[in-house]
């Protein structure tokens, strides 16, 4: 190879360290200002949507089933990039203009809603029928059964796959730059564009994503531990 290893070149090494140091702060800022809020808000809305969609899929009302199916099929079947594109640049031609951040939240929530709905549907279906019946028998309504008996148990089952969904979401927020939200990955690109150290900056961005994922896995561990209170091992 004609490129020497960067480690054997002290000047370049120093330059890289300098760049890495000075770029961490803006990257972290963008993470805190956009990447994380966008992820968290979208995830919350997405989960609500997902529960509703899952219930629609499970329901016996054909039209609810159909709407839910079509929604999930479209969202999962087409790239997120295109969805954001249409939401942000397509809708204005129909007279609907949404600001960048809300548009991003809508786009990502719709995405999470579709993916998570399958997880939640499976989780709800995995709760033994006897639990519904026991709830019924003590006189609970559908909503009460869901809220007090089924969803608490389904949460336990769906925690690992939902944390996957969240991890994907966090990384997908990098697409928000396409619709004018300057999230962390875009900042990395901006910095790299001036110093041409793409590998370094992308590496830093990856590290930050990884830290978020790692933090998430800790949270997940604690939640699982809490749930495990009532599960034998």
């Amino acid at each position: 190879m004609y490129l020497n290893s960067i480690f054997s070149d002290p000047v370049r090494m120093e330059r890289l360290v300098d760049i890495a140091q000075s770029s961490f702060l803006p990257l972290i800022e963008a993470t805190l200002q956009f990447t994380l809020p966008l992820s968290i808000i979208s995830f919350i809305f997405g989960l609500i949507l997902a529960v509703l969609t899952a219930l629609a899929r499970i329901s016996t009302v054909k039209i609810f089933q159909l709407i839910a199916r079509v929604y999930v099929s479209i969202i999962r079947g087409t790239p997120l990039l295109v969805q954001l594109f249409i939401l942000f640049y397509g809708l204005p031609t129909l007279g609907i203009t949404i600001d960048p951040f809300p548009a991003a939240v809508i786009g990502f929530s719709l995405n999470v809603g579709a993916y998570a709905s399958e997880v939640i549907r499976a989780a709800i279906l995995s709760i033994p029928k006897g639990q519904w019946e026991a709830a019924n028998t003590i006189g609970m309504s559908y909503t009460q059964s869901l809220r007090r008996v089924i969803l608490p148990q389904a949460s336990r089952v769906s925690l690992p796959p939902l944390s996957n969904t969240f991890i994907s979401l966090v990384k997908d927020t990098s697409l928000a730059s396409l619709i004018l939200v300057t999230e962390m990955f875009r900042v990395a690109q901006q910095i790299a564009a001036t110093n041409y150290e793409f590998l370094l900056l992308y590496g830093q961005a990856a590290l930050l994503y990884w830290v978020i994922c790692f933090a998430l896995s800790l949270v997940q561990g604690r939640l699982e531990h809490r749930f495990d209170r009532y599960v034998s091992r």
């Binding site: 033994p128 006897g130 639990q131 019946e133 026991a134 709830a135 019924n136 028998t137 003590i138 006189g139 609970m140 009460q144 007090r148 008996v149 608490p152 148990q153 336990r156 749930f227 209170r229 009532y230 599960v231 034998s232």
Partner: protein, 247 residues
């Protein structure tokens, strides 16, 4: 206390209950026996409207319902309140302690005062012999203990009638006794009970009457000693020979 007239239940094409007529006096304990698939579980579930009967006129406690007619949710709820169900596999809520399981109905559904509901739940758990275990989760309890929580949970609803679907058949042999004891006590206190069970100790010792079901019909009905010793129907005889010692 219970009166059933021409109760039918179909699953799609399959007619599982083909016209049940019977009634149960207040304070009586009735045992239902019969081969697998004969409709015993379906019968009990119809009484608690876990399955909606296809037709039939059923009275439990103060509520009479004609299942041939469309029913409102409210009617069903009022009817269901008359009875409480104990399941073969307990079906406790695994994410709630014994106490929370028993309190759940009174608090969430009947909107009772929390403190009172808790007191009552504790008393019920003491009654079924689980005073020490009120804060344990189901997985920490043996099968027999879980089933006793299940009974306490049903009792907390203050039903007129208790329905039991093979309450001991998932239990280790030496744990059966403790659940039967609780059921015997209940019968002695005058609780009206319908019990699906093949446990001869209960059928012979406690039941006021035994009902033999086959293919969705009540084939024979009588005092336990009569049914077990001198069944009149051929089907009853055949079935009893299968479940009793043959040697």
């Amino acid at each position: 206390m219970i009166s059933i007239k021409n109760l039918h239940k179909k699953f799609g094409q399959l007619e599982v209950l083909k016209g049940i007529d019977t009634d149960v006096q207040k304070g009586q304990a009735i045992v239902v026996i019969g081969p697998s698939g004969s409709g015993k579980t379906t019968f009990l579930r119809c009484l608690n409207t876990l399955e909606t009967p296809t037709s039939g006129l059923v009275t439990i406690g103060e509520q009479t319902v004609d299942f041939a007619k469309p029913l409102s949710k409210k009617q069903i709820m009022a009817f269901r309140k008359q009875s409480a169900m104990v399941f073969q596999h307990y079906n406790l809520f695994p994410h709630m302690t014994a106490l929370e399981n028993v309190m759940e109905g009174p608090i969430t559904v009947q909107k009772q005062n929390k403190k009172l509901a808790k007191q009552k739940a504790e008393q019920l758990l003491i009654k079924v012999g689980l005073g020490e275990k009120i804060n344990d989760y189901p997985f920490q309890l043996s099968g027999g203990q879980q089933q006793r929580v299940g009974i306490a949970r049903a009792l907390a609803l203050e039903p007129k009638v208790m329905l039991f679907d093979e309450p001991t058949s998932a239990l280790d042999p030496e744990l059966v006794g403790e659940v039967l004891q609780v059921m015997k006590d209940l019968a002695a206190e005058g609780m009206t009970m319908v019990v699906v069970t093949h446990e001869m100790r209960f059928a012979k010792g406690v039941a006021n009457e035994v009902l033999f079901m086959d293919e969705g019909r009540i084939v024979e009905r009588g005092k336990p000693e009569d049914i077990f010793n001198h069944p009149t129907e051929e089907r009853t005889k055949r079935f009893l020979s299968l479940i009793q010692d043959t040697d």
